[in-house]
């Protein structure tokens, strides 16, 4: 098998260039999808038969909750690749994920609290799903604190990668918490094996928002990765060519 693609992938100048080329291809569709989903979700989707207009919280809560978990998966996978194959670019990718993931975990918690108050009568309960999501935020913050606490880049990469990989056990707990325990949080209505339990004009804006947020993450992560690669490669001659 030809492995040159893998070595090219691991080359910082190549990654820097490809990331720059790809960014607009993710950013523009993301913007288009999010704006359309916002319009469809607020104006076209009918009110819910139980929650009335309050259900429109789903269009910001579900996409941010999805990102919070998906980004952690990407971060831990990149960290594992970096650890196993000693691939610096993979460590750079993992490091680029953390702040984005933490910010959307925060959004999922805040929007969840603002949804919980009118529907459950409380902003917060120590429910399995809610608690596991809070643990996710702490994992992200711990990962970032660990990285910034170690001066040696190689050691910071390895130590934070180990933390990221251990934290993966929290992901199935978040996913299945609503099934394993008697959670106040509802079970998934879209991300499940059967048909989504929603009419089309309610579901379509949600799917557009989920895809839009995912593409937005890709675009933001690519820009952060370019910054990370530049910082790591400070003295390299290709960086000199890039900036001159």
């Amino acid at each position: 098998m030809d492995w040159t693609w893998f070595h090219r992938l691991a080359s910082p100048p190549h990654i820097y260039r490809v990331a720059g080329t790809l960014t607009p291809w993710f950013a523009w569709p993301a913007g288009l999808l999010i704006v359309s989903a916002l319009y469809a979700g607020l104006f076209l989707a009918p009110p819910d038969y139980q929650q009335g207009e309050g259900f429109r919280m789903i269009y910001v809560h579900a996409p941010s909750a999805w990102l919070s978990v998906m980004i952690y998966g990407v971060m831990a996978t990149a960290a594992a690749v970096g650890l196993i194959w000693r691939m610096k670019v993979a460590h750079a990718a993992a490091a680029s994920c953390a702040a984005i993931g933490a910010s959307f975990t925060f959004v999922s918690l805040v929007t969840g609290m603002l949804w919980g108050k009118p529907m459950w009568g409380t902003y917060w309960v120590w429910d399995p799903r809610l608690t596991a999501q809070l643990v996710l935020l702490i994992l992200y913050l711990g990962y970032m604190a660990l990285r910034s606490g170690i001066d040696d880049l190689g050691r910071a990469d390895r130590a934070s990668a180990v933390l990221a990989i251990i934290g993966v056990v929290n992901l199935p707990i978040i996913r299945y918490s609503v099934e394993w325990w008697n959670s106040i949080h509802q079970a998934p209505s879209v991300m499940k094996m059967e048909r989504p339990s929603m009419p089309f004009d309610m579901l379509a804006p949600l799917l557009m928002m989920l895809l839009g947020f995912t593409l937005l993450f890709a675009a933001v992560m690519l820009v952060r990765m370019r910054a990370e690669v530049l910082r790591r490669e400070r003295g390299a001659s290709w960086v000199k060519e890039v900036v001159s």
């Binding site: 309050g54 910001v60 910010s103 805040v110 929007t111 820009v223 910054a227 400070r234 000199k240």
Partner: protein
Amino acid sequence: MRDFFAMGGYAAFLWPAYAVTFAVVAWNIIAARRAHQQALAEARRRFSADADGDAP
């Protein structure tokens, strides 16, 4: 229009949630671009200092 903003009585919960979400979306875009600009500026400073001969 007033009905739309009232959101059937959920306005006090819905609009702050939307505001927080899109504030964080905006922050992500701005912070990422700033990080890239700063990394470029730092690299530029470094190489121009090299050219002046007063850097290691």
